[in-house]
């Protein structure tokens, strides 16, 4: 005769969800990126880490570094997560990202950076302001220098306000190459910055933009006016563009 209490207790042993192993063990992939192969580490909630192979070195060293830094096991991933390969070709919304190890400030900085369209650049100070911490310009630089998912969160589109492209995780040359692939005319922007022009406005619309904003690129030479600051543009009767939100 079975004891109903013992039988009911045994029925309380619910099996683990099928997702448990994926929650614990991450997967790695080696896939083509815009400047050569990249290594990616993917967890159950999204891409956790992405590094250019040329920068990260040998795969084994990269994986061992991941295991010791994050204390997480990592095995070959059975397949690429949805959206990763198109995103590395510059298309689509991109894969889900797992940025849960970061601070709320770092996550906000990356969320702001992720909204910069391809072919456009923004200064570090703009990211700081959009992230709600206008004084934290250096901290923004630190967060972006440690971006766990470059290319997917396009930190290469954040540059210095003086026209210099600034630093990049895998070196300035990569940053320049990525921006040029997206059609950013760096020489032209440097010339503008050297002349003290940070923003450009149209005298037909009365709107002032960052020079790479798609609205700014449509302004014809006859109607284009440069400004060293938003304050000067406002003083001349211009209002800031609602898309690129110049600061």
């Amino acid at each position: 005769m079975t004891d109903p209490v013992l039988a009911a207790l045994r029925d309380l042993a619910e099996p683990a969800p099928a997702t448990l192993a994926d929650r614990v063990v991450d997967g790695w992939l080696r896939v083509p990126g815009p400047l050569g192969e990249v290594y990616a580490v993917v967890g159950a909630r999204g891409v956790r880490l992405l590094r250019p192979a040329a920068f990260a070195g040998e795969l084994d060293a990269f994986l061992e570094d991941y295991r010791s830094r994050h204390g997480r096991p990592v095995r070959p991933a059975p397949r690429a997560p949805r959206g990763l390969l198109p995103a590395l070709r510059g298309r689509g919304e991109g894969p889900a990202l797992d940025l849960g190890d970061l601070t709320p400030f770092a996550r906000e900085v990356l969320a702001v950076t992720a909204r910069i369209p391809a072919g456009q650049i923004r200064p570090y100070g703009w990211v700081a302001r959009e992230a709600g911490h206008p004084a934290a310009v250096r901290a923004v630089g630190t967060v972006l220098a440690r971006n766990p998912v470059p290319l997917l969160v396009p930190c290469h589109r954040v540059v210095r306000s003086d026209g210099d492209v600034g630093q990049y995780l895998s070196g300035r040359a990569d940053k320049v190459a990525l921006l040029e692939r997206e059609g950013v005319e760096l020489a032209h922007l440097e010339a503008l910055a050297a002349a003290g022009t940070r923003l450009v406005g149209s005298d037909t619309t009365g709107v002032v933009c960052f020079p790479t904003c798609h609205h700014a690129r449509r302004i014809t030479t006859a109607h284009r006016h440069g400004f060293p600051s938003l304050a000067r543009a406002r003083a001349a009767g211009y209002r800031p563009c609602r898309d690129c939100r110049p600061s």
Partner: protein, 187 residues
């Protein structure tokens, strides 16, 4: 399912591949105990995953001799119970701000332990009553009777003698039976 001898060999040979096999083999028992330890069902998988990650970090520092001597299931369950205890302590020190915990003054739509203990489903009532047992008795009942561990493993997890483990389990079970009867009489 790999047996523990194979798992220990796999862990020594290739820690990460062996570890995935370890999760697949012992994931159910770790999750089942987590489910009876976590206060909310949704926390059980998080707790189980966190315990496995702690086990992985420990294994990275173990040499093959130490891995060869590991009794995997009680070792994992000990880590799970320590993880749960640390989480409870942290939660008491620092109230969670993610909105996952109900504010204490708001009536929760889910029935509390008292209501569930008076329900009709024997499993629901036992689950609710388990939460009212002293920790040692509850743990012993969960390990011995829910996930069906041998007494020796229950004793290893509780870090006590087999006699004491048997006695915790028996007293916990007796308390459950008494409380079942008393809730039947009052309802």
């Amino acid at each position: 399912m790999a047996d523990d001898e194979q798992l220990r060999a796999a862990l020594s040979e290739d820690l990460d591949a062996g570890f995935e096999a370890l999760v697949r083999t012992h994931g159910d028992v770790v999750h089942a105990v987590a489910r009876r330890t976590a206060e909310r069902a949704a926390d059980a998988e998080d707790l189980a995953a966190e315990a496995f990650l702690r086990a992985y970090r420990a294994l990275r520092g173990y040499d093959p001799d130490r891995i060869a001597r590991l009794d995997l299931r009680p070792w994992l369950l000990t880590i799970l119970l320590n993880t749960a205890r640390n989480d409870r302590r942290d939660a008491a020190r620092r109230p969670r701000t993610d909105g996952a915990a109900d504010p204490p003054d708001r009536a929760s739509p889910a029935p509390g332990p008292a209501e569930r203990a008076e329900g009709t489903d024997l499993g629901d009532r036992l689950a609710a009553l388990l939460a009212t047992l002293p920790v040692a008795q509850r743990t012993a009942v969960v390990l011995r009777h829910v996930v069906d561990l041998p007494v020796a493993e229950v004793a290893a997890v509780l870090a006590c003698s087999e006699g004491t483990a048997r006695s915790h389990a028996a007293r916990g079970l007796a308390a459950l039976r008494t409380r079942l009867t008393s809730t039947e009489e009052t309802s």
